[in-house]
Structures are given as C-alpha cells and as structure tokens.
Symmetry: none
Subunit: 186 residues, 4 copies
DNA sequence: CATGAATGAGAGTTCATTCAT
DNA sequence: TATGAATGAACTCTCATTCAT
C-alpha cells in the first residue's frame, strides 16, 4: 500500500468517525504514521483530501448506476442492491459523502453537489419510469426518492460485516422493502 | 423570548448547519446577539449545550411515543407519523440529535445513547409485535427497524415547510410507505 | 500609554528593524508584553497593522505638505525641511513606509500606493513650478524629484537624535543641498 | 549559463522583489527551474546565497572605485557616475545590497558591513578632499556623504532601462546634481 | 447582568534543511 | 547530478474558556 493510500485511508476513517471538523491534521498524520509536515507531501489541503474522497466515491457510484439496465422495477431493485452493497462494503467513504458535504465551500461544494445530483437522477428516473409503467404506486415520486435514498444510505451508519447479517441477504431484503414501500404490483 | 432560549435557538441552528465542531463559541455568541463572555452566563460548556439540546429533543420524542396506543399496525403508523412530523417541524433539533452524537464524550454520551435506545425500543416493539401478530412480514426485524428509522429521520435533512409538500400529507405518505416496506397485510 | 499604542509601537520598531516578513507574531507579542493570542485583541491581522502604520504616517505627511505655502523655492525648501524633520523624528515609521510597501497585497497596496503618489505630487509640483518660474534648473524634473526624495528619505536610515548632528541644522543643510542640486538661482 | 548562475540570478531577482525573508526556498527553486533539494547542490544555506550576492556586488563597486583617479571634483563626479550606472544596470543586485543587510547575522554581517564601509570611504575621501581644496562647500561632510549616497543608490529603486531616460544622460544629470548639492565652485 | 481582557493550547500550513537513493 | 521523502520548528491565527471589573 502506498503512502498516498495510507493517508487516504486514515482520512476516510477519521472523517467518518469524528467528522471533518472534528479531525485535526495532527490526528490524521498520526493515523497515517507520518509527521504533520510530511503529510503535506501527499496531499493538498485538508479540504482537498475531503473533496477527493467524495469525488472518488460518488464517481464510482455513478459508474455502477450507469451499468444498470432492465425493466423499470428491475432497475430500481438493482439500484437499491448496488447502493446498499456499496454502503455496507465502504461504510466510511459513503458516510463521509453523505455527512460532510456541508464542510465544503465554494466551487468544490458545487462540484460535489453536482455529482450527487447526477447520481440521484438515476433513482428519480427509475421511480418515475416505474410509476409511468404502472408498476409502482407512490403518492409523490420525489418524496419517495428521498425516503428511499435515506433508508438505503443509512446502511453505512450501522452495518457491520462482522455482525449477524449476511450482505447478500441484506441487499435482497432492502430490495424487497423498496418494492414494498413503493407499492410495487405483486 | 428569554435570553436562554435565544442562545439555545442559535445553537440549534448553527449546530445543525455547520455541525458541533464547525461552530465556534464566537459564532454562537454573535448569532445570539451576545458577547462570547456573556454567553457563559446562560450556558455551561459548549458540550453542555449540545447535551441539553439532545436530551430535550429525545425526551420529547419518548414522551410522545409513550402516549401511542392501539393495535400493532396502528401503533407503528402512529410512531411513523409522529416521528416524521417531529422531524419536519423541528428539523434542526432532530438533525442535531441524529448527527452530532459522535461529538459527545464519556458519560454524557452514554446518557444520550441510552435515551436514543429507549426511544428506538418503541419501534422495535411495534415491529416485533406486528410480526408476531402476522400483520407484518419482514425478513429481519432489526434490519427493518433500522431501515425504517433512517427513512423517517431523513425527513429533517430535506423537508421544508415552505416547499410544495403538505405536512399532514407527508405523514400519511410515510405511514403508507412504512406499511408497504414491512409487508403489511392489505 | 494604551495597550493599542504599545502594540503599534512594538510593531513599528520591529518592522523597521527586521522588516515585515522578518518579524514574527510572537516577536511582536513579546515586544508588546502580551501573549500572541492577546495580541489579536488589539489588532486585526499582521498586515492590517502594517497598513495602519503606513496610512497614519503618510496621512500625516500629506497633512503637513498641504499647509506649506510660499513662492516656488520656499515651498520646496519647506517640503524638504518638513520631510527631513519627520524622517529624523520618526525614523522607524518612515522607514517602514519607505521599505515595506512590497509586503502589502491587493487593495491594501493600492490604497497605500495612492497615498504615496498623492504625497509625491506636492514635490513634483514644487519642482515643476520652480522650473517654470526659472528659479530652478534641472535636466529632468521627474528624475530630480526622485533623486531629491531618495536623498531626503534616506535620513531615516541613519539619523540618530543622540548623534552629533542637530536636527534644525540638519534640515537647513538639506534645504541648502536641495537648492544646490536643483540649480537654484543664487 | 550555468546552473549556479541561474540560481544566483533567481535569488537576486526574488530577494530584490520580495526581500530575503519574503522569499522561500521553494520559490527560489521554482524560479531556477530546480527542485528545492537540488538547489542545495548549488548553494549553501539561503543566507550564504545572500552573502555571496552582496559580496560580489560590493567587491565590484570597490574595484571600480579603486580605478578612479583625477582631481577632487573629477573623482567625485566619476564616483557618482559609476555608482549610478551600476545601480541602473544592476538594480536588483544593488537593491539587495542596500536593503537586505539587516537579514544577515553574526560574522557574515560584519564582513559585509566592512565591505560597505570600505566602499563608502572612497566617497568620504573625495568629499573631504574637495572641501580641503576649497572646491566643495558643505556644512557637514559626513552628512553630505550620506545624503549623496542615498540619492545615488535610490536609482536602483526606480530606474528602468525601458523607460524614457537614457542611462548616459542620467549619469551626467546625477553628476551635475551632486556638484550642485555639494556647493561646487562654478 | 454584562463584557473587555486575557491565555494556553491547538488549528492548518509552511519553513529551511537533510538524506537515502 | 538530481530528487522524493522526511522532519522539527516555526508560521499566522483561532479555539474554548475564565475572570476581574
């Protein structure tokens, strides 16, 4: 593992555990096994590091979302499964993406918000298409999207690979819950 | 409005907007219209303030949960509606409760975690009872509780009273989605 | 003497002795008898402090220049005497003004440069008027202004009130040298 | 141009523009087209570099001063012309010599101060001789030397070869001003 | 009740310099 | 010759908090 990777990993862990503002440069350096001055060999500013973590994570999600095909409900279930799996497998990265956006400022914030919006577009489209095709029954598609995303993203806040729940089972269960809450025709 | 209340209100707003660690004492003082020294006449430490906000909010939720009665599904729907309404009406308080627990340390943390656990117990019981009574069908009741809570708590992150969604409608929609995702018998 | 004044005085002394970039905040604090944190009670940034020193000094010079009247050569001699006296009496302030302008950035720089230009205008006018009135003989009035100003400002770099040279004599001598170098009719 | 020369040139430029303390090693390296580590193959410490620049410049001035001969006023005018030419042709080197002496410490400072004093001796002698020979009339020869030197050294602070002033004309004008300010017999 | 003054500790970041490769 | 990596010390500045008035 390169030093860059170790820095990134330390940052992901600490940002997830303590938040961006709750993590000091010296904490980061210690977690990465470097002096705080050396840290700056491998990164720009602390905010750069945060942006990079978010960009990578969101770009990956978008990449996976783009590959999803199928009929309306299939796509929705696939999105849910993919998203839940990502949040269970990389809980720290995803928690940082979901929770630290407010720490960004200016253009960097806009960039990341744009990526997030682009990702959420896949969900909105899947829901809208499902409703149009009369396969889903929701009162308000936008509210449904938000509720569904919150439910699925929450996984990163509690799932543990060492716990009793098998990840594949988890994705299946979430797929079923998603269909249920969206009133999928049985 | 008393000065104490103004301080509390400022804290709630800033903690919600910027996070506990992202909010400085001087920010707080300015938002409350006081000097930072005067602030300390109306509060203990910054962490005290956070604890107090969380305690109040959680205690209120617990109080309301205690008053909920009815059969298994009724209780669940009532919980959902109450929770969603609380998160829509007091998005900042609830967002702080849900998002800043990690900023607490030591005993204070334990106290608040205990309150939260006590509150979530109502949800777990409602789900478990529903399952026992064969009115709900879920693969894993614990997972269901977590998914449901994340979905409902997420409301504080996006709901705006000025937006197009009526709050009563919202609670109804969330009640329906909750039943759907938990496989309620129709 | 107020604390603010002590801070200012320390800054003037250190900036003059070591330069702006050669003076640390801790040096400043120590020289003012404060902790570095307390220092920030009495000033904005280090650059603010520099700007304020320069602005005060230049404004004073301009104020004095405005009061000078008389015929062409009288005005020139008066300018020289006033300038030399100011540079001998406040060698540190004036040395900072003359030597640290490059440490300023952005708008602050523009403001101070504008003040300096406004001050130098008095000199240029006096020389130009003297030439027009055929009381001075210079090859290039702009060059003459620059040479004269450098000569006079240099006083702050070497004059000491404890030295053998009397200040009134000094101003007279500089007045004479000025007339001589500008080819004043005898 | 050798790498050593490029380093020196970059240093001269940056020290002149931003001052010694305002110039970082990385700035220097970048300006020389090297990495900061490589820089250390071509120089000692940052202070060594400064000393070397000053020593070279002052030694050159001394060398030229030594070659000046003639009667009292001729020598003075020649000194002025030579000095002005040097300051116009190498404004950065001379500005560093004149402005960054305070950045030196300990023995290095003494060495450079000694060189400067040696150089200024030529000026003092020329003035003193002129006065003795009744060709110059000054109130205080030491003051005259300081005033004259400041006037002439100031050239490096404003002269530009691209500007409207021809260099030979400039030296002539300064020669004339020098004689004027020193009350030379006509 | 209110606050200006004060501070040790720590924030993020850069410093000049060294050294193994 | 060249440099990426490394660092202790220092940088400017802000932190949460206390206290005398």
């Amino acid at each position: 593992m390169t030093t860059e990777e170790r820095v990134r990993e330390a940052a992901v862990r600490l940002f997830a555990e303590r938040g961006f503002h709750g993590t000091g440069i010296r904490d980061l350096a210690q977690a990465a096994g470097l002096s705080s001055a050396t840290l700056y060999h491998y990164m720009g500013t602390k905010e750069d590091l945060l942006v990079e973590i978010m960009r990578t994570s969101l770009t990956e999600l978008i990449g996976k979302a783009e590959q999803i095909t199928g009929d309306e409900t299939d796509r929705l279930v696939s999105l849910v499964k993919m998203h839940v799996r990502a949040h269970a497998e990389k809980p720290r990265e995803t928690a940082v993406v979901d929770g630290e956006m407010r720490a960004l400022t200016g253009e960097r914030r806009e960039e990341i918000v744009a990526l997030r919006d682009r990702y959420e577009r896949f969900w909105q489209d899947a829901i809208d298409d499902g409703v149009k095709a009369r396969k889903l029954t929701v009162a308000d598609p936008s509210v449904a999207r938000l509720a569904l995303l919150e439910m699925c993203s929450g996984v990163s806040r509690w799932y543990s690979p060492d716990g009793p729940v098998n990840l594949s089972d988890l994705t299946i269960q979430y797929g079923a819950m998603a269909l249920g809450m969206l009133g999928a025709a049985r």
